[in-house]
Symmetry: C2
Subunit: 76 residues, 2 copies
């Protein structure tokens, strides 16, 4: 089975990477960009039947820094 973990910074946490992308898009002439937030996506190929709770544990223990990041698990 495959799962996708999407990790994004919590609202209010400064995102210099997103800011840099926003600035660069403006420089390339893309107007109308109001905000950009950068995050990570981790694609996991897991043994069939792995419970979602196990993936949550992976996020809590390793994949996400839950002080500043939110994560979302999607089983594909």
């Amino acid at each position: 089975m495959k799962a996708r973990v999407t990790i994004t910074l919590k609202p209010g946490v400064l995102d210099p990477q997103g800011k840099a992308i926003h600035h660069a898009l403006g420089g390339l002439g893309f107007d109308g960009v109001e905000d950009v937030r950068a995050g990570k996506v981790i694609l996991l190929d897991l043994a069939d039947g792995t419970p979602v709770e196990t993936i949550d544990k992976m996020c809590e223990q390793l994949l996400a820094n839950t002080v500043i990041e939110n994560y979302k698990v999607d089983v594909l």
Copy 2:
């Protein structure tokens, strides 16, 4: 409008970050992880009515390195 751009390495491109995560998950006792691939996600807050073609152009010109990366645009 909001859009999500997901950027992943093309199959066959070495992914040291994914390998490191895979190794670390094994060290934490998570068995049954067969493969891990790491990528990026960029959340765009755009002016309403921005066409998907414009977002594709942003990806081609700035967000993704299309030599080694695939991208996927989802309008949310």
